[in-house]
Structure formats: C-alpha cells, structure tokens
C-alpha cells in the first residue's frame, strides 16, 4: 500500500478530513492558511493524477478494496482528469486569494466555518468528478451543493439579498438533485446496478419508457445544476450576492463540473447507441444552447451590475458547451471540454478582478469601474485581458475555444452554428467593451461615495489573480495541455460511447 497507489483517493479524502479541523483553529488567519495549504496539496495530487493518466491510461481505484460493481469505484480517464486539474487548480489560486477579501466581507468569527465549507465544497466537486459510481455522483453533488448554499448565504453581511439568493439556490438545487436521483432510481430499476461502466453494459438494447424517463430526469436534473436555459434563474443572484471569493470559486468550477457530469452520463452511461440520445441532442441541447448563447449575452449587455453581468455571461458560455456536446461528434465534444476548462480560467480571473474592485470600492455595479485604469491599473488589466479572452481574441484561451467550436460546427455540417458562435461573440464584445470603456476612458468619479483616493488591491490578491490571467494567455499559445488533452479525452469518450 504505497501512497502512489492511494493517489486517486487523496483529492476526496484529504479535504474531507481537513475540513473539520478548520473549526479547531483560532478565527482569522489560521483557517485560511490551513485551507490554502490543503488546496495546494490537492492540486499537487491532481497534477500527479493527470500526469499518471496521461502516461498510463485509465486508473480504476476500488474504494475500501471492494471491487465494482458492488463497491464504489473511482475511475479516472482523461476527461475527468482534465476537470480535476481545473477544479483543484482554481482552488489552489482562489484559496490564497480569499484571505483579504473574506476578511473584508465576512465576520471574522465565521471564518473557520467559511473555510470549512469551502473545503467541503471542494471535496464535493472533486468527488463528483473522480467517481465512477452513479449514486456516488449524487452524494458528492449534494455535498458540494449544500456547502455552496451556505457559502452564498454568507454574503448576507454585505448584502441581505444574498439570503434570498441562497434560499432560491437551495430550493432549485434540491429540485435538481431530486430529479437526478429519481432518474438514477429509474435506471437502477431497469438494470440493478449503479456503477457507470456496468450501467452502460446493461443498458445496451434497453429502449423502454422507463429508461427514457430516467434519461429525461437525469438530463433535467443536471441541467438545473449547470444552469441550462431556462433553468438558470437561480444563478445570477447566487453569483452576484455571494462573497466575492465564493463567486470566483463557484463560477469557475461548479457549473463546469455539472457539464462534465452531463457529458459523462450521455457518453459513458447511455452511449451513442441509446436511440433517444440523438433526439435529445437535436431537439433539446442544440436549441437550448443556441437560445442561451444569445439571450444571456443580450441580458449581460444591459446589466448594471458587473457580477450579475458576468453571471449571465456564464449562462451564455454554458450555451457554447451545450452546443458543442449537441453535435454528437468527437470534435464537438473536444470543443465542449476545451471550453469547459478555458471558461473556468477566464471566469475565475474576471470574478477575481471584480473581487478586487469590491474590496477597494465596496461596490460591484458598473459605476464603480469608472476610471479604474488610473486607480487600480493591475486589476484593470487583469480584467481587460481575461475579458478579451472571454470575447475570444487570438492569443488567449477564448480564441482556442471559439476556434474549436467553429471547426466542430463545420465538421458537423452545421456551418450556421459557427456563424451564430461568431455573432454571439460580438455581443460579448459589447458587454466586455462597455466595462473596458468605463475603466479606461472615463475619469474616476469626482464626488459621491466612490470618489477619493483608491489604492491598488493588495499583493495577496493581485498575485493569484495574475496567475490565472497568465494561464489565460499561456494556454492561448501552448494548447498541448488543454486542447491536446481534450482531444484525446473526447476520442476516448467517443470510443467508450460506441461511436467512431
């Protein structure tokens, strides 16, 4: 029993065990330092897992030594290795970033609870990603969701609306989880197993109403979690009123993990042989993705609150991923996976910039951004670069995403979809450009609560934020790690799904 053999268990076990320890620390710096340390350990573990999977192929870890399908299996292929890297990477950046921001936004006495909840949330997200057991997905999804309800509610100290936002999030998230578990139940009824690989084997040839209903429940349940239009309504308020660090963490990871779960169920559990899948692609995912791309972008254009704007932009970006999945081709899948990772990077950086602004100005409405270039140049340029990445400017990861997506559209003989991607990117130009104009061209306000001497955000925030911005640029040029892995992951998923 070497440590290397137990490596797949670490991302789940370590934060889960570490979380209660935060409560033992003195409120303030200690819980934060502990959580940051854990996040780095996990990032290292995940990096090791990714390297291992990339070299040696699929890893199957039997929890407690019980073999599947009876026991719980952690099954890591390239697809979830990629998502593990994203989630743990964002955590490793956001946790150190959080200290100043949390100190300003949350009662110091609550800080142990806050970091504990963050670690539990991280546990849940990593667990959802790593597991190869369908019911285990539900369990971890609930662990992640419950902790994030609490985290969102902690924004109430600065804005009471966080409470209603958290409540709505709670109700909707629970509905989604319920639908998901109903779907699982139906599948269990049909097959008698909960292991994903086993489910796939036993679902072959099963084409009855029960399985179809199960599919529909799972799709809608996960759709709610990933804020698929029109079930996105919980998301804008939750992201807008949550504490800034929570927004940055959840926006970059939570919906991405849900998208991964959707892909996993579509391609690994049901497979391309499942006849209803193609109907669902063409009649649900494709229209929902396209409508989401446009409607949410247009709403973002008119938003007066930058965090809400970013939240709506997230809904639009989810639309891109759904569009990529809906092609049902390897290229489309690769595009969805690449964008999943890339969007995590850019949204994380953008929400961190918003956190810096909120830290100094106490406001995340547009007017706080007037003349920001002169007050907080580093924050401004971080926002600009990651905003350009969101638009898809060459030299950033956003360009790689759009490129893959357009290529996949052409490959799938849906050239019009490629045009729509470009068209909705123009909307992104508008909503990002609007903020850039405020920051760069307007003078800072002369009077009112936002006037006065404003310093740049502290280094402990600037450095992690710029690490993520640098990743935006670095992976825009060196696509081997993101797009290369996504290509391979898509190929592996397609072959496991029984496609070409």
């Amino acid at each position: 029993m070497t440590l290397a053999a137990q490596l797949p268990a670490l991302p789940v076990i370590v934060p889960l065990v570490a979380a209660p320890f935060t409560l033992l620390f003195k409120p303030g710096r200690a819980p934060w330092a502990w959580a940051s340390l854990i996040s780095w350990i996990i990032f290292a573990a995940c990096a090791a897992i990714v390297a291992h999977v990339a070299n040696a192929g699929v890893v199957s870890y039997h929890l407690g030594g019980w073999p599947p399908p009876i026991g719980i299996e952690y099954r890591i292929d390239l697809a979830n290795a990629l998502v593990l890297a994203l989630v743990s990477g964002v955590a490793a950046v956001v946790f150190p970033f959080a200290y100043q921001s949390v100190k300003a936004e949350i009662d110091e006495r609550q800080s142990p609870y806050f970091y504990g909840a963050m670690l539990i949330c991280l546990t849940g997200l990593l667990g959802v990603t790593i597991t190869g057991d369908a019911f285990n997905v539900f369990v971890f999804l609930e662990i992640a969701s419950l902790s994030s309800y609490a985290l969102v509610a902690m924004g109430a100290r600065r804005d009471r609306r966080a409470l209603t936002a958290a409540f709505n999030y709670l109700v909707m998230g629970t509905i989604g989880a319920t639908f998901f578990v109903i779907g699982l139940g139906l599948l269990y009824q049909a097959t008698g197993t909960l292991n994903m690989a086993d489910l796939h084997d036993r679902l072959v040839g099963q084409d009855n109403r029960m399985v179809e209903a199960g599919f529909a429940f799972i799709m809608i349940g996960i759709g709610l979690k990933l804020a698929m239009f029109p079930m996105h309504l919980w998301l804008p308020n939750a992201y807008a009123y949550a504490p800034s660090a929570v927004s940055a963490f959840i926006a970059a990871t939570s919906t991405k993990v849900a998208v991964y779960v959707l892909i996993r169920f579509f391609f690994t559990v049901f497979g391309l042989d499942f006849p209803f899948l193609h109907v669902a692609f063409a009649w649900t995912l494709l229209p929902v993705g396209v409508i989401g791309m446009f409607f949410a972008s247009i709403v973002a254009v008119f938003q007066e609150d930058v965090k809400r704007m970013l939240a709506y932009s997230s809904v639009a970006q989810i639309g891109y991923m759904l569009l990529g999945v809906s092609f049902g081709t390897q290229e489309g899948l690769a595009a969805a996976l690449v964008h999943l990772v890339n969007h995590g990077l850019m949204k994380g950086a953008l929400f961190m910039a918003a956190a810096c602004v909120f830290f100094r100005l106490g406001d995340h409405r547009c007017r706080a951004y007037e003349g920001l270039a002169r007050r907080m140049p580093f924050t401004t340029w971080a926002f600009i670069i990651s905003g350009l990445s969101l638009v898809g400017v060459p030299g950033t990861v956003g360009f790689i995403s759009k490129w893959y997506l357009i290529e996949a559209s052409i490959e799938a003989h849906r050239v019009w979809a490629g045009f729509l991607v470009v068209l909705s990117s123009l909307l992104a130009v508008v909503y990002v450009g609007r903020i850039i104009e405020l920051m760069v061209l307007r003078p800072p306000p002369k009077d009112g609560p936002l006037a006065g001497e404003i310093r740049e955000a502290p280094l402990s925030m600037i450095i992690p934020m710029w690490a993520l911005v640098a990743a935006n640029v670095y992976f825009g040029f060196r696509t081997g790690l993101t797009a290369g892995l996504a290509d391979q992951a898509a190929a592996a998923l397609m072959s496991s799904a029984g496609g070409g």
Partner: protein, 589 residues
C-alpha cells in the same frame, strides 16, 4: 508566357537594373548614407553598359492574353531617349550630392528607371506599367520637401498622373478589343471614315495629360516648384519627355498636334513674363519647350520628327542646366524669387556663366545646342506650308529668349543688387553644371554625334545647320528680341518684379470646381444623414424593444419568485418527457 524568358528579360532590362539599384541604395543604413549616391552612380553606369551591349533589337518577347508583347524594344527612336535619360539621371545624381535622404536618392534613380522602362517598352501593357511607376515614384519627389503645401500639391499631382494612367489603360483595353493587339506603334486617331476612335482618343489624352497639353498643364507649375531644389530638376526632365516620346511613337503626323503644340509654345510666355518665382518661370518654359516638340511630332515628316526628338535631347540638357543654376542660387540664398535675387554675379561667377550658356542654348543662339535642332522643327513646319504655325513658332522663339534666355540670368545674377553675397555653388553642383554646359556647347559646335543618334538617318544626311539662311534668320530674330527687351526695360514697360500669385486656368477647377465638389459632398452627406437617421431610429426602436425584455427590469433578467423557477423546471421536464415519448416518431421520420 514562360517564366524563364520573363525573368531573363527582367535581368537585362536597364529599367529593372536601375530600379533594383535604387532600392538597394535606399536600403543602405543611415550610417552609410554617404554611399547612397556613389552606389546609384555605379548602377547607372552598369545600366548604361547594358544598354550599349544590347544594341538595336527586341528582347523579352512575351504573350499576354494571346497577343504578343515585348518588354524591351531598342530602335533608334527609343535609343536616343534612353541615352539622354541616362545622361540626365547621372547629372542629377552628381548635382544633388549633398542630399543623402533615402527617399530622394531612391526617387532620383527609380524615377528615371521607370521613364527608361516606358521608353523601351515594346507594347502598350509594358508601357502602362512603367507609366504608372513614373507617376507614383515622381510623386515621392513632390512630397520630398515635406511641407503642407508640397503634400497637397503632391496629392493633386498624383491624382492627375493617375488619371493619365487610367486614360491610357482604358484606351489600351478598347484598342485590344478592336484589334487584339497591344502593339505600341502608330495609332491613327481617326478611322477610315474620318470619325474619331474612342480608344485612340483615350490613349491620346493619356499621353496629353503627361505632356501637359493646354488646360491639362497646370500640374507642372503646381507641383514642380514645390519640390526640393534637386527634386524639381529631376521632375522637370522625365515625365513630359516620356510623353513626347509616346506621341512621336503613336501619333506622328496627327494634325491636331500642330495646333495644340503651337498653343503650348505661346501661352506660357505671358505667364512666364509676369511670374516672380524663377523656378515657376522655368516650369512655364517646360510647357513652351514641349510645345515645340509637339509641333515637330505633329508635322510628322521624317525631318520634323528628327527635330522634335533631337530638340528633346538638347532641351533635357539645357533646361536642367537652367534649373541647376537657379537651384544653386536658391541653395545658397534660400529663395528663387526674382524680387529677392539679383546681383549674384559678383560672388557666383561660375554659376552665372553656366546659366548664360543654358540661356543661350534655350534661345537657340548659333553655336549652342538649341540652334542645331530647333531649325529642324521650324524648317519642317515651313516645308509643309503651315504658315500660321510657322509664325507662332517664330513668335514663341522670341518669347523663349525673353523669359528663359534673358529673364532667368538677368534677374538672378544682374538686375537690382539684392545685397546678397553668397558663396559660389558647391563643387559637385559646379561639376554637374560644367558637364551640362560642355554638352550644350559641344553639341552646338559639333552636332554630328547627336545627328547619328536621330531616328531617321536619311532625312538628316544632307542637313546643314550652319547654312547662311539659318544663321541669318535666327540672328535677326534674336537681335530684334533683345532689342525689344532692352527698349521695354529702358522705358520701364517691362512687367516689374512683384511678389504676386498669378492665376492660371487651374483657378477654374481649384475655386469654382472646389465649390461644386463641396456642394456635391454636402448633398451626399445630407442624403446619407437622412438614410442613417431612418436606420438609427429603427435601430433605436429595436434596441428599446430588446431592452424591454432583456434589460435589468425585463422579464428575462428579473429575479423571479421561486415558484416560477420551479414551474419552469417542471415545464421543461414535461417537455423532455413528451419528447422522449415521441422520440421514436421523430427518429423514424
């Protein structure tokens, strides 16, 4: 067209050799700027050797659109122009030795290169390419002085030169449609029935713009004097002479050229007499001189064309000698205004002597270059019994003496003493002027080598420039003209030197024309504004509608009550279940 023969023809073409040389000279780094002009001279010598080595004949045969084309045609008519262009380019490079700027060095080699390419072109397409090259590269020279005025003048100049190219291109295209040939030979302006051919007319006008036909001439006085000192000299040589060559090639014997040429010789005299800027005076003199050549081409007999071409050869040398002398004075004093110059003979005696030699040459005094070729033109007119044209040329010759032969040296070096005591011109300027002056006198005394270059040898064989009749006729003319000048000055009737701006015909398109254009632009702007207004009102209404739905208070962006959210989820689930129910129907169809 085979790529190999094309490349081979490019390699032996003096024009491409010079263009490459110009580019290389310009690419020399600024730390080696002093090497640029020597470098240019080396390439010029190389090109001249290549020209001599080639000998008469056609080179670089190509096929364009199924019609033959020739990149290089070296026959006696093109050879004499190529030779004199080489001489002039060399003199200019030496003259402006002090000017090492990248752009002027490039232009003063690449511009002659383009003119030589045009002269050597054996077909109309090749001609067009070099024709446009001259336009673009010479515009660099107008821009070279870098002032606001030179910029706007350069843009006007460029527009007119490009217009000439467009006319030429249109004519070439129509000609090709009619004859399926790009032949660059005689192009009859009228067809068999005596009607004007549009194709030929377009080519004719294209040539006409560049040779500065009356009313198409303003660009000369507008652009040339605004260039730098050396730039003006380079400009004064090539464009108009290339056009004269093209006219001689395609429209020799065209009767309308007689009248056009006669008017060209006459009208600039009056402008030149009242003009204060001496460089502008010389620009008017270009019009006048080209007029003589155009008349020679218009007569069309072998000896008259010989005269036109030979006169072009000599004119290039003595006209640029005059420009050089005035330029040297301007280089030392900073002005070329008659009112601000005068009395410079004391300190610039050599320049004064060279200026006088140029003046005597342009006035066609016996023993100078003008005399031995101008007689050919005037004789040709007389032989063909064009009485009025003949009379006009005599009058114009007297006028040349007044404005170029007397006014230029008189107001620069004599007249009232301006009090300026500048140094003598720099050595390299003196060198260039010396060579020019020696050529002027040498050709005047011993014209045989020039006559050997003329295109129609049979017509020149028994021509004797120094017959008694020629000397008497010319001397009478000149003496009476000198007398007239003396009397005018004596009785204070000669137009006084006044610093003024004289209006030429370009006033009509600079002032009313500009108003017209401004009016048209205003109308277009108003129409566009109206259309744009309609569009933006529509757009505003559209955006307002989008905002009503998507704006912060719109139904899509509002924070909905939780029951609604749950309901939406239920509806979507219902739809998904219905879809699952009917999926077989869908996938079966």
């Amino acid at each position: 067209m085979s790529a190999n023969s094309f490349l081979a023809a490019l390699l032996i073409n003096p024009a491409t050799i010079l263009t490459v040389g110009a580019a290389l000279a310009a690419l020399l780094p600024d730390s080696r700027a002093g090497l640029r002009r020597p470098f240019a001279l080396v390439f010029l010598a190389f090109s001249a050797v290549e020209l001599a080595r080639l000998g008469l004949g056609d080179y670089g045969a190509l096929t364009l659109f199924g019609a033959p084309a020739t990149m290089i045609r070296l026959d006696p008519l093109s050879r004499i122009f190529a030779v004199v262009f080489h001489i002039a380019a060399g003199l200019n490079i030496v003259y402006a030795w002090h000017d090492r700027s990248r752009m002027t060095v490039f232009a003063s080699l690449a511009y002659p290169a383009a003119a030589i390419g045009g002269v050597l072109a054996g077909d109309l397409v090749t001609l067009f390419v070099w024709w446009e090259m001259t336009a673009v590269i010479s515009a660099l020279l107008v821009f070279a002085s870098g002032t606001r005025a030179s910029f706007t003048a350069g843009m006007r100049y460029l527009a007119i030169q490009i217009l000439s190219g467009v006319l030429l291109l249109g004519g070439v295209a129509l000609l090709f449609a009619e004859t399926h040939s790009f032949a660059f030979g005689p192009i009859p302006l009228r067809d068999g029935a005596g009607d004007i051919r549009l194709s030929a007319l377009l080519v004719f006008l294209g040539f006409g713009v560049k040779s500065a036909f009356p009313l198409l001439h303003n660009w000369v006085q507008d652009a040339y004097p605004k260039s730098t000192i050396s730039g003006t000299i380079v400009l004064s040589i090539f464009t108009t002479k290339l056009a004269v060559y093209a006219l001689a090639r395609s429209f020799a014997g065209e009767p309308s050229l007689l009248w056009i040429g006669a008017i060209m010789t006459l009208f600039p005299i009056f402008f030149a007499l009242i003009e204060n800027d001496l460089r502008k005076v010389l620009c008017y003199s270009i019009n006048n001189q080209v007029g003589f050549m155009v008349v020679g081409v218009g007569v069309g007999t072998a000896s008259a064309v010989n005269g036109a071409v030979g006169y072009a050869f000599c004119n290039i040398i003595f006209e640029s000698l005059l420009f050089m002398a005035v330029g040297a004075a301007m280089y030392r004093t900073g002005t070329s205004k008659a009112t601000e110059l005068g009395g410079l003979y004391r300190t610039m005696p050599l320049t004064m002597i060279f200026c006088l030699i140029g003046a005597l040459s342009i006035s066609a005094f016996p023993l100078f270059a003008g005399f031995v070729t101008k007689g050919l033109i005037i004789d040709g007119v007389a032989e063909q019994r064009h009485f009025w044209i003949w009379l006009a040329l005599l009058f114009a010759s007297a006028g040349v003496l007044e404005h170029a032969g007397i006014k230029i040296p008189y107001f620069t070096f004599f007249a009232h003493d301006s009090g300026k005591r500048p140094k003598e011109a720099p050595p390299m300027m003196l060198l260039a002027m010396t060579v020019s002056a020696i050529l002027c006198v040498g050709i005047g005394i011993y014209p045989k080598p020039l006559y050997a270059l003329l295109p129609y040898q049979s017509a020149i064989a028994d021509y004797a420039p120094y017959s008694l009749y020629h000397i008497l006729e010319q001397s009478q003319l000149l003496l009476w003209a000198v007398l007239a000048f003396a009397l005018l000055v004596l009785f204070r009737l000669y137009p006084p030197e006044v610093p003024s701006t004289n209006l030429d015909t370009d006033w009509f398109w600079r002032v009313p024309g500009r108003r017209m254009l401004a009016w048209a632009a205003g109308v277009a702007q108003a129409l566009w504004g109206f259309a744009w207004g309609v569009f933006t009102r529509r757009l505003d209404r559209f955006i307002a509608r989008v905002y009503a739905v998507h704006g912060p208070e719109g139904s899509l962006a509002r924070s909905w009550p939780i029951g609604f959210m749950a309901l939406a989820t239920a509806i979507v689930l219902g739809l998904a279940l219905v879809l699952a129910f009917i999926s077989k129907l869908i996938s079966n169809t």
